[in-house]
């Protein structure tokens, strides 16, 4: 049994396997399938200060080893989360992070302030990369000045771990990562979904009500790996790798590219206990390659 524990800035994970926001609900939906406490941490659904209905139906399109979604941050708002959902999560003995989003900087601040009061939420993941909302979301994550504005504003009101989630829909992700680091991010998670589109040739209509949506799944892994590697050279805060991770081998690739932990997204839909298999698989890999600790392989790509 190798040592799988890892610190991502001041976030202490029993193992480097987390779940990606929007793909793991609030954890509770997985109780039937697995022991959520075995995870390093979970990131719950994107949360905004005001309740959001999200986008109209249809919100999903299957693509080549991937899927597009345009959920659009459907959630009942930060207050509802604090009063109605949070109490149910206190049973868990793992890190719970809330994915915080907003249309304006004020909304980000207001949401983060509420989450800041919740003792058992160990951190937030600042979502400046959601491609599925008309205002804010990804717009914040695609230029250095706007990243600096939102990250430093939230930094002032949020006092625990602040992970900033980067958008892949950019020319130079290294520069944007530096802005987030500079503005007070404790760690960075990447990538969010890539902006894509699907068309039904028979009906000659876009499949999604919103025309475009966010691409996730195995299809995007090569791009995600490249971005993690690029960002790992640009910043010195820890990274959490996300994008198309389906099994332990995929996870290992992200560690080698420079991620200190990973998040599993779309794979949870196909196999709700896949994260447990990934944890076991990472352990086997480390044992087989005679590493004592996960830290031995982080950024360990041979050139």
């Amino acid at each position: 049994m190798a040592d799988l524990s890892i610190k991502v800035h001041n976030l202490e994970l029993k193992n480097p396997v987390m779940t990606a926001s929007g793909t793991f609900g609030y954890g509770l939906e997985f109780d039937d399938f697995m022991d959520v406490n075995l995870l390093g941490g979970i990131v719950v659904k994107g949360t905004t200060i005001h309740p959001r209905q999200g986008n109209a139906y249809p919100r999903m399109a299957e693509t080549a080893l991937g899927m597009l979604n345009s959920v659009g941050l459907q959630n009942k708002g930060a207050h509802y989360f604090a009063t109605d959902i949070y109490p149910k999560l206190t049973k868990y003995k793992t890190n719970i992070l809330v994915n915080v989003s907003g249309s304006t900087i004020e909304e980000y601040i207001a949401c983060a302030e509420i989450i800041n009061e919740l003792d058992l939420i160990t951190g937030i993941e600042l979502n400046i990369s959601c491609p599925n909302v008309k205002e804010g979301g990804m717009a914040f994550g695609t230029s250095c000045p706007s990243i600096e504005a939102v990250v430093s504003a939230v930094r002032k009101v949020y006092h625990k771990t602040m992970m900033v989630k980067l958008s892949p829909n950019v020319t130079n992700i290294g520069e944007l990562a530096k802005s987030a680091e500079f503005s007070g991010a404790d760690s960075l998670s990447l990538i969010n979904t890539l902006l894509g589109m699907a068309i039904d040739a028979e009906t000659r209509k876009p499949i999604l009500s919103t025309i475009t949506g966010g691409l996730s799944g195995p299809a995007i892994k090569p791009i995600a790996l490249r971005m993690v590697w690029e960002v790992s050279k640009a910043v010195s805060i820890p990274l959490v790798g996300i994008g198309g991770i389906m099994n332990a081998t995929d996870a290992i690739e992200f560690f080698l590219a420079g991620a200190s932990a990973i998040q599993v997204g779309t794979a949870n839909y196909l196999d709700p206990s896949v994260t447990i298999k990934i944890i076991d698989g990472i352990d086997s890999y480390l044992n087989r390659h005679k590493f004592n600790s996960i830290t031995d392989i982080i950024g360990g790509l041979h050139m």
Partner: protein, 259 residues
């Protein structure tokens, strides 16, 4: 029974006609209660063009042999691949998912209306309703007589009426053209329906006019099937609801399209 993911063994695969298959899948574990209207989410192996699971109503449950059946109409790569699954192989199945049709406490007169592969979700419902002494009538609509492959089973549980678009069996036209949908409808306490959306909308409208309780089972494109992706929403009077957890069965008055 709580949600689970298991490799179920295909113990029979009946090709019912050109494009319909009935698969019987055996669980290694003892099955607990599965309610009528619930569905299963099947993984399609070996297909580069199918990534996500595919949802199918649980057509019937055999607690003695620990099997569930699914009725599959081939419409795309996923259903075609599943339809071809050889006996003896395994299908990774997430089940049982979703809510279920309401079973009345006291016996009632109930009309089930099914169209296309929608009839699949009505089979185990008919069985349970008839077991609980409800008076069950079943109206099934299809394009043509060849598509009406499961009538024999239904007739065990109630009186079967049919419509076909080409008139090859029963009343010619849509289910809403059947006599029973006229004045006779008042005799029923409840209507349960599953089928193409236009059909369900038409049925729900008639039910509403006659003030008969109507439950509809919706389809939707699903990424997860257990309430975490929020892709499968239905617009209800209480806002967006997930078809996979809040549904697939909804009281038709809850739905926005009803109003």
């Amino acid at each position: 029974m709580r949600k689970t993911v298991l490799n179920l063994k295909v113990i029979s695969n009946l090709q019912l006609n050109d494009d319909h298959h009935l698969l019987e899948l055996q669980s290694p574990d003892q099955l607990e209660t599965i309610n009528p209207g619930q569905f299963a989410n099947l993984l399609v192996d070996h297909s580069p063009s199918v990534f996500l699971r595919r949802p199918f109503s649980i057509y019937s449950v055999d607690y003695l042999n620990n099997t569930i059946s699914v009725f599959i109409k081939e419409i795309g790569d996923g259903t075609r691949a599943l339809g071809k699954t050889p006996v003896g192989s395994f299908i990774n199945t997430m089940f049982p998912l979703g809510n279920s049709f309401t079973i009345p406490d006291e016996p009632q007169r109930i009309l089930l209306i099914g169209g296309g592969s929608g009839v699949a979700s009505l089979m185990s419902l008919a069985q349970i309703l008839s077991k609980k002494s409800n008076e069950v009538s079943i109206l099934i609509g299809a394009r043509s007589a060849v598509d009406l492959v499961e009538l024999g089973h239904f007739s065990k549980y109630g009186t079967v009426y049919t419509t076909t678009e080409d008139g090859t069996l029963g009343t010619k036209g849509y289910v809403t053209n059947h006599l029973i949908m006229g004045d006779q409808l008042a005799q029923f306490d409840r209507i349960y329906t599953c089928g193409p959306e236009p059909m369900m909308k038409a049925v729900a409208l008639i039910a509403k006019e006659k003030a008969i309780i109507c439950e509809v089972s919706l389809e939707n494109s699903m990424a997860c099937g257990f309430g975490v992706c929020l892709c499968c929403i239905a617009e209800t009077i209480d806002g967006h609801k997930c078809v996979c957890t809040d549904g697939p069965v909804f009281n038709s008055t809850q739905l926005k399209w009803q109003i």
